[in-house]
Amino acid sequence: MQDLMAEVRESIRTVLDERCTSLAVHAFIDGKASVDQDLRELAKDLGWLAISLPEAHGGIGLGANGLAVLNYELGRAAAPGSIIATSVALETLARSEVSADPAIAELIVSIVEGTTSLAIATSFNTPHADGAIRLIGDASANVALIPGEGDDLLLADLSNAVADQVVIWDETRSILSLPSSSMKALAVLRGSRPVLFALYAIAIAADSAGAARGTLDRTIAYMKQREQFGRLIGSFQALKHRLADHQVNAKGCDELVWQAAEQFDNGAKGALMWSLMAKANVTDAALRIAGDCVQLHGGVGFTREYDPHLFLKRAWLNEALLAPNGALRDKAASAFGEALKNGHEVLEIA
């Protein structure tokens, strides 16, 4: 299982290192290449969306760990497109009762095969003031997961909805805005909200941990070649110490992602709590790391031409998704108190 995970990671990374280079991402944000669509094609061809999918639906069944690996690598490459939305929505759908419905089972197949693209609401807590719903997803998304009553979710058809693609700071991903009235509910996912929250939180944390890793690696590489005052700037101790701290904190982020994913896959009592804590701590840490990577680049860090801002903006959007980190910690604190009251050992590590 560990070996399989490592193999999957390696295969995704190899493809992204080749197909989603810094040049490719810049070509995408400059409107010169449809890297997002290329990656969707690749995802289809290489079966990326099947990695986490339960075997019952024809997937490999690597669950939240698989979801985390995929999104970690996408974050690490600042990969254009919204596979995060499709992958989270797909997993949620596949684990809901409605997945037994033949039409939904068929939809799942079409998602894995790339003919259907899913969007997902940016937040499940507060509806937007103007009555519009915001989704993260590609402009071509035809189905979306949005909040329903209580813990229910709605699977909504977007084919008749007029979605505006909102211009956002994170140029590698895409937010749609549309009136909720324009969507038709295809199905109600009863009680699926906690599952969605956990998976969404894990995917966001994974993307952020990957983004922190990606920008840190590139910053270290830059500091090994940039000279000032006749020395490589990577030899300046004040900068080295900051990087050492970032390195250690990035490792901490990785561990929180795996902590949450393992808990989910083990069906542990603490699964939701850990996913929320991972999202909160990892997105906060990723912001600090990505922000300092801009600073450590000096002047060029302030340019659109270099990479650091791609990761910084991505890390910021991640921070804003799902719910504010404070609210997530509050929710986790309640869950922790409940767990202690009920004698659940949510801090055990297998």
Binding site: T122, S123, R134, V166, V167, I168, W169, D170, I175, E227, Q228, F229, G230, F236, Q237, A238, L239, L287, G291, V294, Q295, G298, G299, G301, F302, T303, R304, E305, P308, H309, L312, K313, W316, L317, E319, A320, L321, P324, G326
Partner: protein, 394 residues
């Protein structure tokens, strides 16, 4: 002209305040926010011209060049009223207003002063060509090469981080005239017209969506030897005058603008009963930053007060470095907090900010301009550690 009232502090201040209220369209900020950087520059040119009519464009310049030698206390009144009213900030004129006189008055010759300063006082935009891709923090290692050819220099090389040069008519330029001596000893200081053949200006797209900065590519650019400021190979000394030109009033104005923005932000939050006011963490972070902003504003006032009283000469560099580090770090923290408070709404892209109110992500991304440019904060820490604290060099 309003400037004529300057001896009576109270009258001077009220006259400025009344005049702004009459002159500035009430919707300028909204218009500007909907606009582009280019439109904002047009706004600044118009505003500069209006100021000039009242003697308020270059009041700090000596009278022979169009000013009235307005002291720092007077400049602070002007800046205070501008910040209070949220007038268009004069970013595009920063070099014109400060670096240019700071250089030409002590180091230029009479011809240069006569030729450039009066025109500049009417609103000619200047830019600066100092940094290079390989010479940022280590400015003296610059390599842009100027070779004498008769009564011209022929210049080849590249400059970067040239602020507002897309809009500039002239440029103060550092070039290497002697590559065979110690790096500080072979530099010269020139004035270059921005329409000189062989000069290409290429905008640098910034992370905040703006393009304040440009790169300059110089290919056989010919600049008259008469445009040399100071002696050939004495440019490093001249550049020190440029870099030391008093810009404390700019930091003052930046602090004052943020004070009003922060105050307005809270007032609005109270008015709309913003949810974050009930969040202990956010509310306390806000108050923490509010207090630090006050500390920062006091530090700047102290520096300017010392300047005014001629007490600051020995310590200006340290105090400036301290203020730069404290103020820009704080600006970034405030922007980060606002970005968090705005949540997802803050991620909708805002092309421009009129600097009358906080705009979450824009201000946050823009804040790296503050922490990186004008000497990175890392350089500031070196300066403070060595000059202020007397710690040994590494």
């Amino acid at each position: 002209m309003i400037i004529d009232l300057r001896e009576d502090v109270g009258a001077f201040r009220s006259a400025i305040r009344d005049w702004i209220a009459q002159t500035l369209p009430s919707d300028w900020a909204e218009v500007a926010d909907r606009g582009t950087e280019d439109e904002a520059v047009e706004y600044q040119r118009w505003w500069f011209a209006e100021l000039a009519k009242q003697g308020l464009s270059v009041p700090h310049w000596p009278s022979e060049f169009g000013g009235v030698g307005l002291g720092i206390a007077g400049q602070m009144i002007v800046a205070d009223e501008m910040a209070r009213a949220g007038t268009p900030p004069l970013n595009v004129f920063v070099v014109t207003l400060n670096h240019l006189p700071g250089t030409l008055i002590p180091c230029g010759n009479a011809d240069q002063r006569a030729r450039y300063l009066p025109a500049a006082s009417k609103g000619v935009v200047w830019c600066q060509g100092f940094s290079e891709p390989g010479a940022g923090s280590d400015l003296a290692s610059l390599r842009c090469r100027a070779v004498r050819d008769g009564d011209h220099y022929v210049i080849n090389g590249q400059k970067i981080w040239s602020s507002m040069s897309r809009f500039a008519k002239h440029c103060i330029l550092l070039v290497r005239t002697d590559p065979n001596v110690a790096k500080h000893a072979g530099i010269s200081f020139l004035i270059m017209d921005m329409d000189t053949p062989g000069l290409e200006v290429r905008r640098i797209e910034q992370i905040d969506g703006q393009a304040d900065f440009s790169e300059l590519f110089l290919t056989d650019v010919r600049v008259p030897v008469a445009n040399l400021v100071g002696a050939e190979n004495d440019g490093w000394r001249v550049a020190q005058a440029t870099l030391a030109s008093e810009r404390g009033v700019l930091a003052f104005e930046a602090g004052e603008r943020r004070r009003h923005m922060l105050e307005d932000y809270y007032r609005n939050a109270v008015a709309v009963k913003a949810a974050w006011l009930e969040d202990d963490e956010f509310r306390r972070q806000f108050m923490t930053h509010l207090a630090d902003l006050q500390a920062s504003r006091r530090m700047i006032r102290q520096l300017l007060h010392d300047h005014e009283n001629g007490e600051a000469h020995a310590t200006t560099a340290m105090a400036s470095a301290r203020i730069k580090l404290f103020q820009t770090t704080l600006i970034q923290k405030i922007a980060e907090l606002v970005a968090r408070l705005e949540g997802l709404d803050g991620h909708l892209r805002q092309p421009f900010n009129s600097q009358r109110r906080f705009v979450g992500m824009f201000d946050y991304l823009n804040s790296f301009g503050w922490t990186i440019s004008g000497g990175t904060n890392e350089i500031m820490r070196n300066v403070i550690a060595e000059r202020d604290l007397g710690l040994p060099r590494g």
